[in-house]
């Protein structure tokens, strides 16, 4: 149906009826009709400018209807209102609305309860949409009935009021109702009449007589408002009414031209608005796949189009690089990433906590509470319930509850249901939290050091071979204790001496006794002269130190020995001080004694306890046994005899304590003197005390100097072997407690890093004692092997130990009269 027909029909419809119709309409129908009304309203307005009342009437129900619809569908309410506010057609209806409102304001304030309350309230600045909302939310149902009445009242008064206001306001302005200009349809001077209010909503001018300003700044006065009768009359009289629309900017009626109508018609029909446009013009396919003989463009291709694009090359290079490095991503991966980025990241409150919060890197868990016991059961076994006495005690301890057996009273309940709430629950939780908070927790590193870990890692004995492992030879012959043994410098022979008063010489390899030299007195000590060119044994028999020639060595050496010891050097060659002269006497050797191999005899004041040769063999140091006088003669207990000059001297001016033994340093002119507890080192050239080594032992029995001279091994009667590193300090480097009894002898091997110790214990202990040339490296001491000594005799087992000079063989002088060779 053409719009004008519809508009005509509408005009005839009563507002009441129309409203009723619309009220029963469904939502869709209402929307349809509303659109139609909007269009018809505009079209109608063009037909008759004075017929605004009617337009109002048609407009208002549509407003109502919209409100009602909006109320029904609240989701779109604001949106719809905004649209309505922006709508040009809506604004036009608003102007009329505002006029109506102004009229109702002045006319009948009390008349309409709901409407006046709603419409008088809003200030001029408050938005139309706001008032709409008020209306829609406040009383939509009641207003539907009231509004038509109010509208009818308006029509009576509004014309007069508008006329008055127009007259008052437009003092110096001309009325703009020049119908003739518009009826001609010429709008060429529309520029002059242009309203220059800009974006200001027109309802702001609702209460003013003008609607804006023209280019000259003059007010554009609203045309005189027509009431409904005028509208009606105009509708009837004016044949152009149907094509008259009101320009909201100026309030003027505009008669649409035929072109305008045609344009509208085309727009409504969905056609191209321009009638001149030919939609079906023949298509010229300018750019086709066909290759043309001549190009479309008459200029040659630019040079640039033949060059590879540098940008593209860079992009390709970037792609290739990304592929090569492996960070190129497929489209799917990119899409996934994008999707993930789009997803909101929620903090996983209950998650396992992949990333710990920043302050808790080293979280220490709270200590666990012990699991509840039987007594904490709601129905504990009767033995856990407190009997009368326990309960009494419990009550007694109320002052000191921490002394109670339980922190709670075990109580029996018939069922779990009967268990009352635990009143101290919150309190206890609080206390626990307080404990956890106030008592800072720390990770306690438990030391897992077993006793094995403290033992230094020593090499296994298997790696430290060779060392003696079994008894290879047992040499029998002595009838009493064997006090002393020694190897000859080449290791071919063994000399031994014992309580039976004999010195025996044995062959090492076979254990054959080669010589027996009876000396008549118990021999405490026998030592072979270390120099290779001579064959001399020093034997301490009672107070005498005898130099024996066993005659076993090379014939030449034997002869040399005899020659050397046969003749005493001339007396003038020997200078002996008076003090030394009394200490020892070189005796003349009787021919029968000479025949029994005695070559020299030195008589001492007391029994000789210990004999030690100097490494070069000219000096022998004898230590005397402390006499009855006691320790007064410590200095006189050590004598050094010089063989070549037959001279004796007392090297020590004074010496505290009982001297146990004295030995020479293997290379330097030094003498080690061991008293009961201390080892003193004397420099023989400078005649002074060099060092004093504190052993820590109660009674030193013997000592041995390492062949390199830097280490000293001291053994004591209180079961210790004490290793001194002379380079290190004067304190013991290590104290070895390897024996169960007194240690009587220690010995260093001359070539192998071995030492051995033995005593009243049943065992001889062979140890590895590696001394390094590197001063920074401490000696390595490893006990290697326990060898069974001989049988026990008079509480003694082994009296002296000696190492073979070349082989890792150990010789022990045993108390049972045997010599045992371990290999």
């Amino acid at each position: 149906m053409p719009p004008f027909r519809k508009g005509l029909l509408k005009r005839k419809v009563d507002a009441e009826n129309l409203e009723q119709n619309e009220r029963v309409n469904t939502f869709n129908q209402a929307e349809d009709s509303e659109q139609e009304d909007l269009i018809t309203g505009e079209v109608d307005a063009a037909s008759d400018t004075t017929d605004s009342e009617h337009e109002d009437e048609t407009e208002v129900p549509s407003d109502h209807e919209r409100d009602e619809v909006l109320f029904n569908d609240s989701a779109d309410s604001t949106f719809g209102d905004d649209e309505q506010a922006d709508d040009a057609s809506g604004s036009s209806s608003d102007i009329t609305d505002s006029e109506d409102d102004g009229e109702s304001e002045e006319g009948d304030d009390s008349d309409s309860e709901a409407d006046s309350g709603a419409e008088s309230g809003p200030a001029p600045a408050s938005g139309d949409s706001g008032s709409d909302e008020d209306r829609s939310t406040a009383r939509p149902a009641g207003r539907v009935k009231i509004k038509p009445d109010a509208a009818s009242h308006h029509t009576d008064t509004s014309i007069d009021r508008l006329a008055d206001s127009v007259h008052k306001a437009s003092v110096n302005t001309q009325p703009v109702t020049q119908r003739d200009e518009y009826s001609s349809g010429d709008t060429s001077d529309e520029e002059d009449r242009r309203n220059t209010v800009g974006d200001v909503p027109l309802w702001w001018y609702r209460e003013y007589p003008h609607v804006g300003y023209d280019l000259d700044g003059r007010r554009i006065i609203k045309p005189p408002q027509r009431d409904q009768i005028d509208e009606f009359l105009k509708k009837c009289e004016d044949p152009e009414f149907w094509r008259t629309v009101r320009d909201p900017n100026t309030g003027q009626d505009v008669v649409l031209s035929a072109q305008d109508l045609e344009l509208l018609r085309r727009v409504r029909a969905g056609l191209v608005p321009d009638a001149a446009h030919d939609e079906y013009a023949p298509w010229v396919d300018w750019f086709s796949r066909d290759v043309l003989a001549t190009p479309l463009r008459a200029f040659p291709e630019h040079k640039r189009s033949f060059l590879p694009s540098r940008d593209e090359a860079r992009a390709v290079g970037r792609l290739v690089h990304a592929l090569r490095m492996g960070w190129a991503k497929t489209r799917r991966q990119l899409a996934d990433e994008r999707r993930q980025r789009r997803q909101r990241a929620f903090y996983d409150l209950w998650g396992a906590g992949a990333a710990e919060p920043r302050g808790l890197q080293r979280h220490i868990p709270a200590p666990r509470r012990p699991p509840p016991g039987h007594a904490e059961s709601y129905n504990p076994p009767p033995e856990y319930l407190l009997d009368a006495q326990e309960l009494k005690e419990w009550n007694k301890l109320s002052e000191t509850p921490w002394k109670r057996k339980y922190t709670f009273l075990p109580t029996r309940h018939a069922s779990l249901r009967a268990v009352p709430a635990y009143e101290r629950f919150t309190r206890e939780r609080f206390l626990r939290c307080l404990d956890l908070y106030l008592a800072p927790r720390a990770i306690k590193m438990r030391l897992t050091i077993g006793p094995e870990a403290l033992v230094p890692t020593l090499p296994s004995p298997r790696e430290l071979q060779p060392f003696p492992t079994f008894e290879a030879l047992c040499m029998r012959g002595h009838s009493g204790l064997v006090r002393s043994v020694d190897f000859d410098p080449s290791g071919q022979y063994i000399a031994s001496a014992g309580d039976d008063g004999s010195v025996r010489v044995w062959e090492t390899g076979s254990g054959r006794c080669v010589r027996v030299l009876a000396l008549g007195a118990s021999v405490a000590r026998v030592v072979w002269l270390p120099a290779a060119g001579l064959c001399v044994l020093a034997a301490a028999a009672g107070p005498r130190l005898l130099l024996l020639a066993p005659g076993t060595g090379p014939r030449r050496a034997v002869e040399r020995t005899d020659d050397l010891l046969a003749e005493a050097p001339p007396d003038h060659d020997v200078a002996v001080d008076a003090r030394s002269a009394g200490a020892a006497t070189w005796e003349r050797v009787a021919p029968e004694a000479w025949a029994r191999a005695t070559r020299a005899s030195i008589l001492h004041a007391r029994d000789v306890a210990h004999v030690a040769w100097h490494a070069r063999g000219d000096y022998v140091c004898a230590t005397l046994r402390p006499g009855a006088a006691g320790g007064a003669g410590g200095a006189r207990a050590v004598l050094v005899h010089q063989l070549s000059r037959r001279r004796s001297q007392l090297p020590l001016a004074r010496c505290k304590g009982l001297v146990q033994c004295a030995v020479f340093h293997p290379t330097r002119p030094q003498l080690f003197v061991a008293t009961q507890r201390v080892v003193r080192v004397y420099d023989l050239l400078k005649q002074e005390l060099v060092r004093k080594l504190l052993t820590g032992a109660q009674w030193i029995s013997n000592m041995a100097v390492h062949p390199a001279g830097d280490n000293l091994l001291v053994c004591s009667y209180d079961r210790k072997c004490i290793w001194f590193d002379l380079e290190l300090s004067s304190k013991p480097y290590q104290t070895l407690r390897l024996h169960g009894g007194a240690v009587r002898s220690v010995a260093f091997h001359r070539r192998y890093p071995l030492f051995a110790s033995a005593g009243d214990d049943d065992n001889i202990v062979v140890s590895h004692g590696m001394v390094y040339n590197d001063l920074l490296q401490n000696p390595l001491l490893v006990p290697l092997k326990q060898l069974a000594g001989g049988a026990r005799a008079a509480d003694l087992v082994v009296l002296e130990l000696r190492w073979h000079p070349a082989q890792p063989w150990l010789l022990a002088a045993c108390a049972d009269g045997t010599l045992r060779l371990y290999a």
Partner: protein, 419 residues
Amino acid sequence: MSAEVAEVQLQVRFITKQEQYAVPDSPYAIQSNVQVADLNTLINALLKETNPSIEKAVEFDFLVCGELLCSSLSEHLQEKGASTEDTLEIEYLERFPAPSPQDCLMHDDWVSTVHAHTNWILSGCYDNSIHIWSTKGQHKLAIPGHTSPVKAVSWVSFEGDQAVFVSGSHDQSAMLWVWNVPRNSVDCVVTCQGHEKGIECLAVSADSTRFATGSWDNNVSLWSTSLTEEDSAPAKKKSKPDHGKAREPLTTLKGHREAVSGVQWMDYNTVLSSGWDHLLKLWDCELGGIKQEIAGNKAFFDVDWSPLNNSIITASADRHIRLYDPRSTESIVKTTFTSHTGWVQSVRWSKTRDTLFLSAGYDGQVKLWETRSPRTPLYDLSGHEDKVLCCDWSNPSLLVSGSCDNTLRIFKAKHYETA
């Protein structure tokens, strides 16, 4: 475990190098827990089938995986780690018959050295005397002459009635003696002086023209055995005219750092010596230099070399006997023979059998070894009551040993022909 092992059946094949005892070369299935005796009966039964001419049962030894079978076969295989799946080759050979004690020759002192010849036995004693015995045990002569224990003796040559022998002693001299057999008179022809310490060992070369002595002065000296003067070096003073002319060594080989404990001639030009310095040295006699050195880790007490298998066995300062190969450049022990409980003092190869040798130890045992049986000796020749100092197997039928119990014991090896 033995019960479990007993279930295993073994495929064996018997082979032998002694043709007269060959059995068919076909595999037999036997139980794995068989002992030597069972195998012996099996082989004898097989032999009886194939070769009826053999009446008497023959005792065999069995070589499995290159080693003599001593325990049961399964244990032996387990020890060697051999598979029981394959067909096992068992080589068998006639067992060396057990030597029987023949004689015990009493001395006045420890018998330090002994050397046997076809009919005569020479022994050195710690009482400085040398003794000549017949193989029948008859004492022929006691020869005083040395002033210190005699440590080494050796026959040099027999020419008609005249026998020449040499002795070395701790009195630093070696003496060359001539023994007139019919007259039973002995004469010291040459006294060899040159060592500065006692002579420990002595060996005569195969052509009997020279002998070598090893001494405590760390030297090996080579001497001529000629009885006349012209061979010896320039004139020298005669220190002991009653003991014949003095002689100086042809060559002195210096190189050992400790006492030389054993010398052996390997060929005309090569002397092998062992020392307490843990070294075996092969000397070139002409050049006087060392050809080769084999280092052990214990002092060597004795050494012997066999021309039959060109191997060296050594006795060292522990309880083991070691077998070296002089051809290998590395000082690697090929086999270690362990059964003695004391030091082994002397070892001697058999002159006829390349796999047998004799050893004497301080545990009073003389042991007869087979090279392919390193754990168990073939026979223990017991009888000595003290340390055994020397042993000798120069006469293939006589196993002689001297001991600290002042006896020289003779064991007779039953005669049997090698294949």
